[in-house]
Symmetry: C2
Subunit: 411 residues, 2 copies
C-alpha cells in the first residue's frame, strides 16, 4: 500500500488498533487499517453527520408482553454498532442498542442483553465455553424462552459443539449467531441473521444448540444447523456455514416470518431440566495426517502427557504405517486415539481395509461421521468427566448430542 492514496471515511479509534493505526472505511464497505508513519498525510475532505438511526430510541411500549429472549454477547461482528474488529466503536451493547440497530427485534421479543466478554473468536478457549454454559443456565433459570449467543464466526463451530455437550437436557433453544459482514456494509448479513436467531429462540419447537446463519443466494433464508454438525466452510461468503453429513435441522424464512423444521430435532422444547457439565480437559490435541509427517510429533505429545488425541486421517480413516509405533505407544499408555477424516464429508470406516483393521487392533477408535472439530471438543468434554479408558471409549462412541449420524455408513 505504500505510496498509494486511500479515500474513504475515517473511523473512530479502538482499543485494538493501538496508537500507530487509523482505520479508513473504503467505498467497497471494507475497513482498512493504515499505519501512520512519518510522511503519512491525512486530509479531511468533509465531515459526516451522526445518522438518525444511531439515536437511541425509547423502548417499545409492548415489550413486556413479548416472550423473553436473552442475547449474550461474546464478541464478533454481529452485535456491535460498527464492527469493532475493523475499527468500529461500542462493542458494548444493551437492549436499547440492539433495538436501535435492528428495530425488527422489538416486535419479536423482550430482549435481555448481556455482555459476557468481547473476544475475537480465535482467542476463545474452553474456559470461555464454560462461562457461556453458565450464562445460558442463568438465563434459563430466570425464565428465558430461548437464548441467543452472538459470537465471532471463526470458531463458532467449536463453541456450538462444546455447548451441545455441556448443556445437558436443555429445555429451550440456544442459538449461536454471527455475521460474515458487518452491519454497516450494504451486503451485511448481521440483521437477517440476528432477527432470525431471536425468532428461532422464540418459535422453535425444539430445544438444542444450533447455529443460525445465512443460506444460499437469497437474503431472507437462514439455515438452522445442529451445533455438533456445523462447520465454517468459506472464509468470506455469507453462506459459509454448512451442516455436514446432514441437512440443516430447520430454516427461518424472513419473508414469511416462519420457521420450517426439516430435520429430526434431538429434544422438544420444555422437556428436561438443564444440567451444566462444562469441564473440558485441554490435554488433548488434533493432528492432521499428511505425507511426510514426522511421527515423532506424536511422541512429543505423549511425552508432555496428553490424555487423548484426535487424528484427521486420510479417506476412510488411514495414516501411514510410519505412525504405527507411536500409535501403539499411545495405546500402551492408555491415551485415547480417535480417528476422523480430513475429507470432512462422509464417515470413517475402518472395517473394510486391512489398514483400518490394523489401526483398530493397535487401539485407534473410528469415530463414524463425527466432524474432526466436534470430535476434539467432545474428547475434551469426555475427559472432563472421566479418565477411565473404557468409559472414555464408550462415551466417545455414544451419540450424545447428534454428533454421530444415524446412518452407520456400511455400504
Amino acid at each position: 500500500m505504500d505510496g498509494q492514496p486511500l479515500r474513504g471515511f475515517l473511523m473512530p479509534r479502538t482499543e485494538y488498533g493501538g496508537e500507530e493505526y487509523i482505520v479508513v472505511k473504503l467505498r467497497s464497505g471494507y475497513n482498512i487499517g493504515v499505519r501512520v508513519k512519518p510522511g503519512t498525510k491525512i486530509k479531511v475532505i468533509a465531515r459526516g453527520e451522526r445518522k438518525p438511526g444511531f439515536i437511541k430510541p425509547s423502548l417499545p411500549e409492548h415489550r413486556s408482553m413479548l416472550p423473553r429472549v436473552d442475547i449474550i454477547s461474546t464478541g464478533g461482528t454481529i452485535a456491535s454498532r460498527v464492527d469493532y474488529r475493523t475499527g468500529g466503536v461500542e462493542p458494548a451493547l444493551d437492549a436499547e442498542d440492539l433495538y436501535s440497530i435492528f428495530p425488527e427485534l422489538s416486535e419479536k421479543a423482550d430482549v435481555k442483553a448481556k455482555i459476557l466478554f468481547s473476544e475475537f473468536s480465535e482467542n476463545l478457549a474452553p474456559e470461555h465455553w464454560r462461562r457461556m454454559a453458565y450464562a445460558v443456565e442463568e438465563a434459563v433459570n430466570e425464565g428465558s424462552r430461548g437464548v441467543v449467543i452472538c459470537h465471532g464466526t471463526d470458531t463458532m463451530g467449536y463453541t456450538a459443539a462444546a455447548l451441545s455437550f455441556a448443556l445437558e437436557d436443555l429445555p429451550v433453544p440456544v442459538v449461536l449467531v454471527g455475521s460474515q459482514r458487518s452491519s454497516d456494509r450494504p451486503s451485511s448479513d448481521a440483521a437477517s441473521n440476528l432477527i432470525s436467531a431471536v425468532a428461532t429462540a422464540v418459535e422453535a419447537p425444539f430445544a438444542e444448540v444450533v447455529v443460525a446463519m445465512h443460506e444460499g443466494p437469497s437474503d431472507t433464508l437462514i439455515a438452522i444447523h445442529r451445533g455438533t454438525k456445523v462447520r465454517k466452510c468459506h472464509t468470506s461468503a455469507r453462506n459459509a456455514f454448512k451442516s455436514i453429513n446432514i441437512q440443516p435441522i430447520a430454516y427461518y424464512d424472513l419473508t414469511r416470518d416462519e420457521i420450517k423444521v426439516t430435520g429430526n430435532p434431538l429434544r422438544r422444547r420444555g422437556e428436561g431440566r438443564l444440567k451444566v457439565k462444562a469441564e473440558f480437559d485441554e490435554e488433548v490435541a488434533l493432528i492432521k495426517y499428511h505425507p511426510g509427517m514426522d511421527p515423532k510429533l506424536i511422541d512429543w505429545l505423549l511425552d508432555k502427557g496428553i490424555h487423548g488425541l484426535i487424528i484427521e486421517g486420510t479417506g476412510l480413516g488411514h495414516v501411514g504405517v510410519k505412525l504405527y509405533p507411536q500409535i501403539e505407544r499411545a495405546a500402551d499408555e492408555g491415551v485415547f486415539i480417535g480417528m476422523t477424516s480430513q475429507c470432512i464429508w462422509g464417515s470413517v470406516n475402518m472395517n473394510v481395509y486391512y489398514t483400518g483393521r490394523d489401526l483398530q487392533r493397535r487401539g485407534v477408535v473410528p469415530l463414524g461421521d463425527m466432524l474432526p472439530e466436534t470430535a476434539l471438543v467432545k474428547l475434551m468434554w469426555v475427559l472432563g468427566l472421566t479418565r477411565e479408558p473404557k468409559e472414555v471409549r464408550t462415551l466417545m462412541l455414544r451419540n450424545i448430542s447428534g454428533e454421530l449420524g444415524e446412518k452407520r455408513w456400511i455400504e
Copy 2:
C-alpha cells in the same frame, strides 16, 4: 462381528492380509476381512467358475495406429483386477490385463503399462512423488501423447499438487486417476474414470497435471480437476473429488466421447520442454489451529529444526494471540510461516482485521486461496530449491502452477 455368520464369496489371499485373515465378498459388493480364530468355521456352499472376461484377450490388431498413452501404476483400487486392498489378486498389471478388464481402452490408445510401485496411498511420501516425476519424464521422452497415473484416492490430491510443481514446462497432459469403488462392484467408478483419463491424455488440448474422477449423479460425466486445486471431500462417495475455489478445468463426457474444456488451462499441449524439479524438503509441517491448542507444539517443531510451517488458521487466517510468541520466534529463526484457512473454501485475507496485520507484522505470510495441502507440498518443493528466506517467500507467493486463484478476493 463375533458369533455372527457371514455368507459371501471367499476371495483369494493377498500379501497384505497375512495368514490369520480370510476375505469374504458380501452381497453388497464390499469385501470384509475376517480373522480366523480357533472356533471359526468355514463352510463351502458352492464353487465359482472363472468369468470369461478374465481370460486374457489377444492384443487388438490396430493398436500401433493409436496414440501412445503410458499408464503408470502406483497402487490403489483402480488398476488391479480385483481390489487388492480388500483381498483381491494381481496388483500387477500389463497392457493386456488392462484391455481385458477395460476393453474400451483398446479403442482409445496404444497403452504402455508400467508398475512403478504398489502402495496404499496413505503410505506415499515425497520420495514416491520423485519417482513418479521421473517416470513421467521417461514416458514423455519416449514419445508418449499423455500419461495416466493410477493412484489410491487417499492422498491423490497431495500427489497431484507435488507433480504440478515438479513437472516444469510439461508438454503433455498428466492425468491422475483413482476409483472410490473397486471394479468388481456394480457401482464401480473404475472403468469410467480410467477410460476418461486415457481419453483425456489423448485428446486434451492442454498440458498440465490433472485429476480425473467421477462427477455428480451421472455415471458418464468425469470431472478434470487442476492438480493444485483439487481435494478429496468425501470418504466414500464416487464424486468425492472437488475443485476448490475454481470450476473443474474440463469434463469428459462418456456418452459423447468428448472432452469439454471449461476452465483456463495453464499451458497448451506441445509447448515447452519438460524439466523435472523433484526435490522435496520434508522438514516442514502442517498444523491445524484449534481452541485449546498448546503453543509449545510450535516450539517443539522449531527445536527439531523445521525449515517451514503451514498453518491452517481460522476464518480469514487467524490464530489465537497465545501463539504469537512462538510465531515471533519462528520469524527470528528464519522459518517460513504460511497461513491458509481451515474453512477450505475462500481465501485468507490478513489485511482487513488487526489480528491479521498483527500476524503479518510477526512474519506470517498469507497464502491467498491456496489449499492447505497444496501449500504444504509447495513449501516442501520451494525449500527443495532454496533455503534463502526472501526467495522462499517470493516463490510461495508466485503463482507457479495455478495454485493461486486469479481473483484476489478483495471484496
